[in-house]
Symmetry: C2
Subunit: 458 residues, 2 copies
Amino acid sequence: MSNVLEALVAALGPQVRLGADIPGRNHTDASGLQPVAPQALILPQSTEDVATALRICHEHGQSVVTQGGLTGLAGGAHPQSGEVALSLERMTGIEEIDPASATLTALAGTPLAIVQQAAEDAGFLCGIDLGARGSCTIGGNIATNAGGNQVLRYGMARRNTLGLEAVLADGTVVRSLNKMLKNNAGYDWTQLFIGSEGTLGVITRVVIGLHPKPQGVQTALCAVSSFDDALAVLRRFQQSYPGRLLVFEAMWREFMTVATQICGLSPAFEEDHDLTLLIEADMGEESTGSEAFSTLLSDFYEQGLIKDAVVAQSRADRNRFWAYRETPYEYGRFLPEEIRFDVSVPLDRMTEAVEYLRQEMPRQYPDSVWVVFGHVADSNIHINVAIKDMTSDTKKGVQNLVYGMVSRLGGSISAEHGIGRIKRPYLNRSRTEPELALMAKMKQTLDPKGILNPGRVL
Amino acid sequence: MSNVLEALVAALGPQVRLGADIPGRNHTDASGLQPVAPQALILPQSTEDVATALRICHEHGQSVVTQGGLTGLAGGAHPQSGEVALSLERMTGIEEIDPASATLTALAGTPLAIVQQAAEDAGFLCGIDLGARGSCTIGGNIATNAGGNQVLRYGMARRNTLGLEAVLADGTVVRSLNKMLKNNAGYDWTQLFIGSEGTLGVITRVVIGLHPKPQGVQTALCAVSSFDDALAVLRRFQQSYPGRLLVFEAMWREFMTVATQICGLSPAFEEDHDLTLLIEADMGEESTGSEAFSTLLSDFYEQGLIKDAVVAQSRADRNRFWAYRETPYEYGRFLPEEIRFDVSVPLDRMTEAVEYLRQEMPRQYPDSVWVVFGHVADSNIHINVAIKDMTSDTKKGVQNLVYGMVSRLGGSISAEHGIGRIKRPYLNRSRTEPELALMAKMKQTLDPKGILNPGRVL
């Protein structure tokens, strides 16, 4: 056993697992990278354990990969050869719900779904929500500044975070378990750790702000014939009912074609339309809310902004509408290997982005099946490209096509999934040299030996 | 002339003012500190000018104080002897309003009121608002993470900031004029500059996200008999109408007594009450909104949560209600010298805070006139203490009393005004050693020679 492993075992005993005692699940995350066994797996039970582990690793210059729910798509939690994995899976639990402050304090390894349920039981709503809610952890959500379907209303993980406890690379514990909306006492150092994907420190405890539960949520599918019309629907809805929109998802024509012709869902409308919107809004008390919602959509129809619309009359309708949006989770059953992109494009360039794909994808990759969809109110689209017998050259080609376009349009190569290992080669498409130099300086200051998630982000 | 002044004049010519050519307004800010003439005043007209100025000052180890609208209360922009002042007053102008993205791009020296008007002219609302709107600048608002009356709904300046351009201590320009709600491409370095009060870099250009304008704002004054009841009103209002509250200001009994008996306003209610709340909510279309608002307040009255209430029926009513909240701007005319505190207290400790003041202020400072009021939904209260013939010892005593209490209750010594020079000695009341060490590391990394706003914050 190497010196560092001996020191870890001596200090942390059975919290350190080696060799065959390391479960396969800790060899990989959801990125699809080939599994790699870490040198050791540390399963701390407290912040003090995390501090001990990092102090030892820091002394020995030992690289550490931090693991939460292992649901990340960018390879941030995927071990590299020789790394020690530090999994927060045993640091779970809601420590406090303070109804006066409308805050929830939890250990970082707590699954998001547990946090959501605890908030709901206390009469509140957790503003962070995403598909992986059952497995992902609240610490991982914050470390990656997770997005999701309701960012439009509640913001990214950053906006929901009031306080943090984190362990620095050398084992120092910094703690600001702030429950107050306003705190301008010095630099808000917690901002450094939000979205830095475990490269600047390990988040061990979080305070999130809770929201009032929405009342009477209304759901509709709307057909529109251009992105400009979709944007007009978004802005006019917001003008008529400020702050009520929860969800504004766009699914372009190609997406709906795959949903119906390949995944087997019934067509949403009699005719095909360029874009289908999934809209949810918190319209208040059921009967008046439902009427106001339908009236507004009727107005949009009469103004020619929407070509067709269906409003959910039941839970079953709502599920049926969401089923379109959720077809990408099923693509594995129907389509060949995919590359999935999570990018942002400024809204005034969105039409150009889709037009470019419509021109270039069939020309350069005639056999590809590709779709565009996403949280457009947040500028965020997902692009999935499935190609039979995908080679690594094809993959690179598609990546260059998409990231090149994003870069030209002033977009971001990562909207909500982060950079991790997979997007690292493309970071300079969204960031300038002075920005990258500034990031490197921050990394060097906080992790001078480069032991935390090396090779991720930067 | 010293070498550094010579170099500045050589590079920037008439943008550098010396001696008697420096206007008196640049000798101080709104902190009340004694005016001090800076060595020179630089009035850059572009980001490149700022970069040139900082590069020269950095080379010479020359300290620089950055000035915006000079409305800060913590002394952050107040020159110290030997400093060069860098005022952004000539860098004004709205550069773009993008209605598709709902964003506004402006030079940092643009007054907030100009930004607000431009947003309004384009059919949107700027989420940043505070009393000094006519003089303060959007760059200063972001550099100090300004708060205000509508933080409850729109958040602090941080939440409204999407992109920044800043000049580092050595003159490097970093630029991320991001217009997208989601951008997880690497560290969000802009977060470093928000709220760091000019000590890490100079903000030169900003992108802010705009909001839909509220519809049919309703205003009421409500009397409640305890802070617990006030909190219940807040939470039940939010549960009934999530996301509609804009303003939730509390004025404790002592505040209303000063407003009526000293400042001469008519009593708001027939009887005295422990707390008066000023509530505003965006209730939608006028007739139904006004009815829903009144009905909810009636419900609260019947539940015994509020003891009395008046709803504004006109613009004049609304102004009359706000006049109570704005009496502190008039205290100078009626009261002896004041110390003004801007602190946060966790909501579940707020009653303790006020009870402590009610016990200790009359005991320790029997001749003082003191009031508590503020943005309580954000945990933020202001405490003003006026004492005749205030000595510096008395001042220190009162500061220790208030900051000691805030520290014991886990609050923050600065909610929204920042630390500047005035609160610097008290920062350790709200921050631990590891936090202060981390802040110092960030400062050291970004400004190794310590030339930017030295002696402020840290």
